[in-house]
Amino acid sequence: MEHEKLKNIVEAALLAAQQPLTLPMLGALFADEEAVAHAELARAIAALQADCDGRGVELVEVASGFRYQVREAVHPWVARLWSERQTRYSRALLETLALIAYRQPITRGEIEQIRGVSVASSIMRTLEEREWIRVVGYRDVPGKPALFGTTRMFLDYFNLKSLDQLPTLAEIRDIEDLEPQLALVAGVDVERTDVEAAAGTTESQGETPMHETGITEPTEERTTEHSA
């Protein structure tokens, strides 16, 4: 099939589909006798991606395939099409989701253990209803708790191709560092000195403590710490 026509079909199909399409799915649009090689489809997609330069939409690949999407740059205007739309999620939900994403398969009990609080059923329900997580199995322990994993829809929603593209999980520093401290922990006086030294250092580094920025969420403070 002629390249231009193929491009047109792929463009129209991607815009018509309402969900991402994979190369095999695009290939299935063609009858057996006009079969199109995946390489050809990939070329058509590359050409369509180039055509998006400087436009309001872009053609990206996410976990479940290729899709056209509104560029972030113009999204603020486009978003006015929908005056009220729930796009904020609670920290509890995001933390739960993060645990499932990085630690899958994981049980609800294991999530609660790491977070130190119980996970509301409504959170699990929301995540399942959005089809971001699903039960992938059951742990072979008493009660056979369900193991959760993330879905392709989850990756699609966050504009990701695979779990590898998730932000890297912070490293845990070696806990051995504690040991030298122990020798000093004779009494509260020593401890107090440490506290003050640490606090003093920070002030002099000119970081922005939370109380000065007026940021209300503890979350934000962590951001400061990490950007330091």
Binding site: L15, R67, Q69, G116, A198, E217, T219, E221
Partner: protein, 288 residues
Amino acid sequence: MSTESAQAVAMSPDEGNLAAARVPQQQEMPLAVVRGEPVLQMPQDLYIPPDALEVILEAFEGPLDLLLYLIRRQNLDILDIPVAEITRQYMEYIEVMRELRLELAAEYLVMAAILAEIKSRLLLPRPPVEEGLEEDPRAELVRRLQEYERFKKAAEDFDALPRMERDIDAASAFVPDRQVIKLPPPVDLREMLLALRDVLNRAELYGHHAVAREPLSVRQRMGEVLRALGDGAFHRFESLFDADEGRLGVVVTFLSLLELAKDRLVEIVQEQPLAAIYLKARATEATE
């Protein structure tokens, strides 16, 4: 842990000294003055409206989060938690929640107990031998805090990812006709051949069928020739051959012509010896 014991820990003599010593730096933390007027003296850095005090609980994702907050607020290293001080501040928060009669989640009280236990172990004289082998009482707590902090950070990173609806939207075009089209079912070659075998077996049972031995390509060519003769007119014998097919193709075509003649499907005419040979289909739909 009972109210009494929690307060006992919070108000231990050491803690009192420490709190006093730290007063200058506690200015930004009016929460220290818990026992006074709780409502008016809520921690400013939490910006809790006096009439929405539940926010304290809501602002933290549990005791680990609250502890992290207390540690990070003072820019302390997580590996170097001053347990006594942190415990005191933690208990103050718990107290505020309690005095405001907020329903205190059990996890917060469990953490208070853990902190009290760690602190008491730190205060006890350490065994003189095997110093290096004894684990710091704080180690387990630090491990949990670190682990939780990783995922707390991960959740923040998630929140920063471009996200459908909030930062991006799928683009789609209208399709005038979205009728579902029915595709024919797939056919497995093997299934078709098994079906043929069955029908052959049945046919033999009735003694009607002779197994054909001619190459199937001849049969295929018979159809092609018939179609070529489909107009009902006479065609020159040579015109039915395609030299490009090579010798084998010529043979196949020739055999197919013989089969068609034997089957009385074509008529072969030659006016006189050595003259041109013509063929026509014996029957066509158009001419009849």
